[in-house]
Amino acid sequence: CRISSDGKPAKFQPPPKPVIIDKQKQREERRFLSPEFIPPRGRTDPLKFYIERKDMIQRRKVFNIPEFYVGHVLAVTTADPYANEKTNRFVGICIQRGGKGLGATFVLRNVIEDQGVEICYELYNPRIQAIEVLKLEKRLDDNLMYLRDALPEYSTFDVNMKPVSHLDHEEVPVNKLQVRMKPKPWSKRWERPKYNIKGIKFELPENKMKEAQKWSQPWLEFDMLREYDTSKIEDKIWHEVSEELKK
């Protein structure tokens, strides 16, 4: 009953249209499968990977392992019998994710009191009590081992950092930071094309960069025997894992 203050019939205002947010569609558009689910190339029986995946899903149901890439800043609390309060919290940037199956590891690096510390954690180790993602940030490379030879300011992260909220459930931001290095010699010759690093600001002279290109192997990307197409395997495994986790 529309009774306006004037006494005249009020103008018809149509009800607001309902905004349909198809959340299922949004989630399906972005699929993330943790790299340790993908079986390595080889002649092992797929039954072994299937059993391992079952165990991994079992663990994930009990304990939430968030989605993270190399370059994220994580805080990991582990159970430690020798620490006071029995828990040990370490904050660091993930520099490498290795291993497949239940032995999947990730290395966190931080610089505490001018001392660089790296800890290699196993994802499925029952001693881990919590993994929090403090900062979502993908970097230009898959492997940030060059941070060991970079200036320490690029590896320092505050231990009491507040988790930075991630608004979009769509994209993970890529940080195109070019890291400055300490003077040579480095632990590995990062300028060589074998490492294919894009995240370093090389301040080396031109002739050194040209000399490094001597070790380039441009035929590697065309080598057909080295191809390992994981798209179909990933699809299958993603469907399997997501169905199991929804139960």
């Binding site: 430690d80 020798y82 040990n88 009191e113 790296e118 800890i119 290699c120 300490k182 632990s187």
Partner: protein, 138 residues
């Protein structure tokens, strides 16, 4: 102090080259003393080197005692961190860290600023005094 890079000119090296820091600690590895003792912090023209490891194998890991040669003197020390990756879930440091110690186990310095792994707490009996002066644990 801090992460010593080879480009920092040391007075004893004008044209010679040196190897990168050793991963685990054995004889003739250069180590970094992390406590605030006078012996460890006063500059000398030679870096402190390990001359003996008190171990069945000659390789020292975290919690092993070694003999150091500092400023022309012999001193025992305790390894608190090395560059070699150890068992998973244990920290790996970017330099070989060592704390000076007397023969009876008393530390020489009074404070240790650098982080120390929690594993040392397992041998609370031997290293209780060293753990007492440590500030940060990893």
């Amino acid at each position: 102090q801090g992460l010593l890079s080879r480009s920092v000119s040391r007075s004893f090296l004008s044209f010679a080259s040196i190897t990168g820091a050793c991963r685990a600690i054995q004889k003739l590895t250069r180590v970094r003393v992390v406590d605030n003792s006078a012996l460890g912090n006063t500059p000398y023209h030679r870096p402190p080197k390990c001359i003996h490891v008190y171990n069945k194998t000659g390789v020292g890991k975290v919690g092993d005692k070694i003999l150091l040669a500092i400023k022309g003197e012999k001193k025992k020390a305790l390894i608190v961190g090395h560059k070699m990756p150890g068992p998973t879930m244990t920290p790996r440091f970017d330099s070989n860290n060592v704390v000076l110690i007397e023969d009876n186990g008393n530390p020489v310095g009074t404070r240790i600023k650098t982080p120390i792994p929690y594993i040392l707490r397992q041998r609370e009996g031997e290293f209780s005094k060293v753990l007492a002066i440590a500030r940060n644990f990893v």
